[in-house]
Amino acid sequence: MNFFESDIITLKAEIKRMEEHPEPLELKTNKMRYKLAIKDRQDYLEHLRKGKPVADVGFWAQRLSRAMGFMPTYWGSAARESKNPLPYQEKARELGLPVDNTCDRMYMLAGMLEGGYMPNETPITATNYACLPAALQRYYIATRKGEDRSYFVNYRPFEDNEATIEYLVAQFHEFIEFAEKMFPGVIKYDEDRLVELQTQYDEAFRLYFEMYQMLKHKPAPYHGHDVRYGHEEPNYMNLEYLRARRDEIAERIEKGIGAVPDEQLRVLWAVPAPRFMDPYKVLAKNKVAVIWWYGGTANYFAPLPKTVYYGGRKLTPLEKEAAEVSQFGFGGTGAKWVDKLIWIARDLKVDAIINFDHLGCCATLGLARLVEERAEKELGIPTLQLEGKQWDQNYASEAQVTAKLDEFCQMLLSQRGLA
């Protein structure tokens, strides 16, 4: 059974759990999200069964690849959503990959492929849009066992400027040419379809911005996982789901329902979180709500002032894709990463930041101190630097993480006279 097949079972079990043993404060529309995720996995498997091409493009070219006729998938999500990652980790270690010092997601994929948990796809695309190890992992897969599979390499510059837009668009053209040649008659760029998807996403982002504003309400109508998981996966841009979610959150506000009973304080969580435990429950137990998750995609869902570097002119559809890629949180300049984090923290009036010092995250680890110093200086709020990995408890166990979070919360509450 591959990952997608097993994930469908897991998602169905989660829906059943919601129906039979609902948690009082979880969003009911999560059920819709799980159904959409199931459909996504089923579509993917169907695509594979029919021999149609899939492309692992992440957020880099999700809409573009759909507009070309690919089934886009993001293996990073698969690695992230895996409920039992340790076999993949051990497989990756067996392969000689740097498991100990690397972000869990960046070797997990190779482990999943080599272990037969993930079906293969062509063409492979390699890009650094999020981080360099994301590209390295794909080079590894492409050159494995002497096979130099034809794959497309895309480079995302870290500066936001006109030259970057122009360059990314040129690369999109090359990707289109590459893919149309590889799959003649099957893959064909359809600009009208791209515009249709962009229009859908614009509306989706608008709905997300509405939900973002609702987080300013006290108590926060949703928090933790519901903040984190609203933000990824292509089918989470489904408008029917987002409208239902928005309406459910609005109803909670009307009824005074808070996601964290007796919420006293609110924090922004930056970079991934440990997945071997539920840190948001630990915080909730301490009456602290996690009202924003700040990461690669997360800043698409906040109404951040966008860098306008194209003179305000109307962008062509491909230029609009390029502008979106350029706004991705990871992989840009450090100043941009911290600027946006500070902006959201200020706008949402958070009381503290929890910065997950994810071992191996070369996109953010080198910026942790900058977050802390600027948060202190510009907002007067403290930052907890929480070390660990997403799945591997050898670096920080559940007990250790829990103790640190408890201690930080007690310190915060005590400082505010709320302990």
């Binding site: 740097p98 010092n101 360099l132 390295l136 590894y140 002497g146 480079y155 070369c362 910026l367």
Partner: protein, 395 residues
């Protein structure tokens, strides 16, 4: 042995030692012992990666100077900004910056060759201890589009240097600089040719000394020295305990010869795949191309590169070719802790080496010379293993 030439050679080999490395740079900028400038001589620009086209810096009338981070283990100042699990070279460079050791620099240029290097640049911008910093954006692969983009980056660097220095950098001055650097590259290529000998004139540690000296000395001075020493090298024999097994060393950001000396307690480092070694000078810039930015882009992007570049198949082919050309008995990988680029490529490369009967070992290392006992033991065991292989000595 010609004592005079041997002494000059030793001086060159020690060019990047702790005592000497900043000597020429400080002389060039007329930096007094007190750390004050009597008058402004040339500006010195610290360089952190081999994707920075030094020719442009030289053309600006400045001295490019490859930054060797502190070789001390204690990096407490840098630890404020850099976690233990981040790459050590940028951490040691930051320590040097924050401690004042690099106060003589007029700026630092790096690239996003590695994301952690880019993050260091972010910190340098934030701490604001350097009057000028720059980070080049380097594409991941080679194509006409990427050459054009990278040429654009080189022009962006040129413009930034012009704004900083207040002086125009002409195409002619860049072209002249290219000719000088090509000369340096050709001389170093000749040194590497001599390494193919059964008893080469230099040990691997000595060669690293020379290539790192090239990166901190004014190029004209380095060229003059090496050119005059080449005839002597033709007759010299390396002073090593053993000339077999012959090892090819693979790493990045390795500038401490102590690591090579550990290997050479048991054999010879006959060749390398180092950014501080062969990759620093491999492939000349094409002087037939009229636009210097394009010419530089073609060379810097197109040459055999770091594993961050997508052409792993080509890189591995080149390394395997070197194992034949240099009659290599084994390959030692010494990846720097948290160097993902090297570590991700390593399994595939080691498998290919195994396929042609070349054994290898991988030992993660710190930036400064550390964990010597452990490394010595493991290297020793590997070298002993390959020394026993019956293929040694057949070639």
């Amino acid at each position: 042995m010609d004592e005079v030439l041997e002494n000059r050679l030793r001086e060159l080999i020690e060019g990047n030692s702790e005592a000497n490395r900043s000597k020429w740079a400080k002389e060039a900028k007329e930096w007094t012992k007190a750390g004050n400038k009597t008058k402004q001589g040339k500006k010195v620009i610290g360089v952190m990666t081999s994707y920075v086209p030094e020719e442009v810096i030289s053309a600006a009338g400045m001295i490019p100077w490859r930054i060797t981070g502190t070789w001390r283990e204690n990096v407490d100042r840098a630890r404020v900004y850099r976690a233990v699990s981040t790459m050590a070279y940028p951490t040691h460079v930051l320590e040097s910056v924050l401690s004042g050791e690099l106060d003589f620099l007029d700026g630092i240029v790096t690239s996003d060759q590695d994301q952690d290097l880019k993050c260091l640049w972010d910190v340098l911008v934030y701490v604001n201890k350097m009057p000028w910093t720059f980070c080049l954006q380097v594409p991941l692969s080679v194509s006409n589009l990427n050459y054009r983009f990278y040429a654009g980056e080189i022009r962006r660097l040129t413009k930034s240097l012009e704004d900083y220095s207040g002086q125009k950098i002409s195409d002619e001055s860049i072209h002249s600089s290219i000719i000088t650097y090509n000369k340096m590259r050709s001389l170093l290529s000749q040194v590497y040719e001599l390494r193919k000998r059964q008893v080469p004139p230099l040990s691997g540690a000595e060669v690293l000394g020379i290539t790192t000296a090239a990166q901190v000395m004014p190029k004209e001075k380095f060229i003059q020295e090496l050119e005059s020493l080449l005839p002597y090298l033709e007759t010299r024999e390396a002073n090593v305990k053993k000339v077999q097994p012959r090892i090819l060393l693979v790493s990045d950001m390795l500038d401490h010869p102590g690591y090579l000396r550990l290997i050479e307690e048991h054999g010879l480092v006959a060749m390398d795949d180092l950014d501080t070694g062969v990759r620093y000078f491999i492939q000349n810039v094409d002087t037939n191309l009229t636009d210097p930015a394009n010419a530089l882009a073609k060379r810097y992007l197109g040459r055999h590169g770091v594993p961050r570049m997508a052409d792993w198949a080509g890189q591995m082919d080149q390394i395997l070719k070197w194992t034949q050309e240099y009659k290599i008995d084994g390959v030692v990988f010494l990846p720097l802790v948290a160097d993902y680029c090297q570590r991700f490529r390593e399994p595939n490369l080691r498998e290919r080496l195994q396929g042609i009967g070349v054994p290898s070992v991988s030992l993660e290392r710190e930036y400064c010379l550390a964990n010597v006992g452990q490394l010595r033991t493991r290297i020793g065991a590997f070298m002993e293993m390959i020394a026993k292989k019956e293929t040694v000595g057949r070639r």
